[in-house]
Subunit: 242 residues, 2 copies
DNA sequence: GGAGGTATATTGGCCTGACCAGTTGACCGG
DNA sequence: CCGGTCAACTGGTCAGGCCAATATACCTCC
């Protein structure tokens, strides 16, 4: 039953929320660019036909998301969007940090590789092989980083699928989404692409051979390699910022 | 030259920002848990010694970050962290299988115990000890099964908290919810309560001693014991049904 | 006794108007 | 030219009021 069919007809959300939405709209349309100053609160409030407190609530909510910054005595300014994928912002929030996420990947992917070596079915191995080849092809033809990152994630996902634990699969799915949103692929790190390819090959071989211990070891080495590359990537970003 | 030497001396940030920070503090300390309702705006404003508009700005900024949700006529409520929400929806998208569930718990709780043994802080150990004693007390005074299950989950959560990985904590939290919703506690199984108590003691001792390997082994034995009890419990239910 | 409506209390939503507090720049006196 | 003062911005905060959505208790009617 579609209970959502008869929603209340009032304008959506609170006044402050609508104001914030409008301002964000202007920012995506580039009518407001980074560094621009908004009109003074009093003026903007009358322009929008709202009271100053309502406008201030909207400003505060955008400031909380980092889209605006307010400076006492000066005005309200548009901040640069966070599209520059900085670890410091997305991954270093109070939700989690980089080391925790990589530790988690190790916790999840090492047993996944082990189980995959034990439980493999023919069709599962086929899909794994396929994912592997897609990735190798892409690396060989110098595909762009986004595609490489997607195919890399695809290979890892295929491993976990063969392992056959849906909790594990779903959890790693969320983990990968968070990491993909918060940082660029570590494959950009010089030499990492080649090293990663070797490690993938090793993991695949071990799973095919049914060598559970070997698969676990290979997966562990792979995650640690990626972790190390990520740390170097962070270092470099900090240097670039200086 | 240390230009930062002469910073302005005023209290940091705007009033609304300080309020928001305080509320976030309470949330990380779990003094405010997901689903809790905050006091009414008017009341909370006087409690904090601020005006209602200032408080509302703080609430709005937290709402923008998804940490609070305000419902007209009802109140202001604490939201679960974004990661938890994603895990909840993702992990509930499949059927739940008992063996997979316990395998997943083993994957997560074994390293958690190991890390807890390495990383323990004084305050963390105190809370762990406290959770342990609550559980022992309840078992001693024949508390009802629901309470025992809650306190058992509390002890496990305390271990993961000491381990210090927030993603791990949230994943296990969601897993526990699934277990609590989908099955009765395995402690009902005859003799399991006593056995479980022993295993908890062992885990606690190992963590206190800083013995990472020992803690992992104890945690593994505990989960496997619970798994076995769960299997027997299911068997018995099938028999009862006949 | 149950279904339905109504009154009221409680909650957030929004406004007006005022005053406080940093920031800036023009102006004035040395 | 330098330094200080002051006035005009700007956001920061407060008080108090009324409106609107929601929940609850109660009451009426069947």
């Amino acid at each position: 039953m579609a209970a959502e069919l008869w929603e209340p007809i009032r304008p959506p959300g609170s006044l402050a929320a609508r104001i914030a939405e409008r301002v964000e709209e202007l920012m995506t349309e580039e009518q407001l660019k980074a560094g621009d100053r908004l009109p003074p609160e009093r003026e903007l409030a009358t322009l929008l036909g709202v009271s100053r407190p309502s406008l201030r609530e909207a400003i505060r909510s955008l400031a909380a998301k980092g889209r605006l910054s307010v400076r006492h005595g000066q005005g309200v300014f548009v901040e640069a969007p966070l599209t520059t994928k900085r670890l410091t912002s997305s991954l270093n929030s109070d939700e989690h940090d980089l080391d925790e996420l990589y530790a988690m990947r190790e916790v999840l992917e090492v047993p996944a590789a082990g189980w995959a070596a034990k439980n493999h079915t023919e069709s599962g191995l086929e899909r794994l092989q396929e994912a592997y080849e897609l990735l190798v092809d892409a690396a060989g033809r110098q595909a762009d980083w986004d595609e490489l990152q997607r195919l890399d994630a695809g290979f890892h996902e295929a491993v976990v699928r063969v392992a056959g634990n849906r909790f594990l699969l779903r959890t790693l799915g969320v983990l990968n989404e968070i990491m993909a949103a918060g940082m660029e692929t570590t494959l950009r790190h010089p030499g990492r692409l080649q090293q990663s390819a070797k490690e993938h090959t090793k993991i695949l071989e071990m799973i095919k051979a049914g060598d559970s211990r070997g698969a676990r070891a290979a997966a562990r080495a792979h995650i640690r390699g990626a972790h190390a590359a990520a740390l170097k990537y962070v270092e470099q970003q900090i240097q670039d910022a200086e």
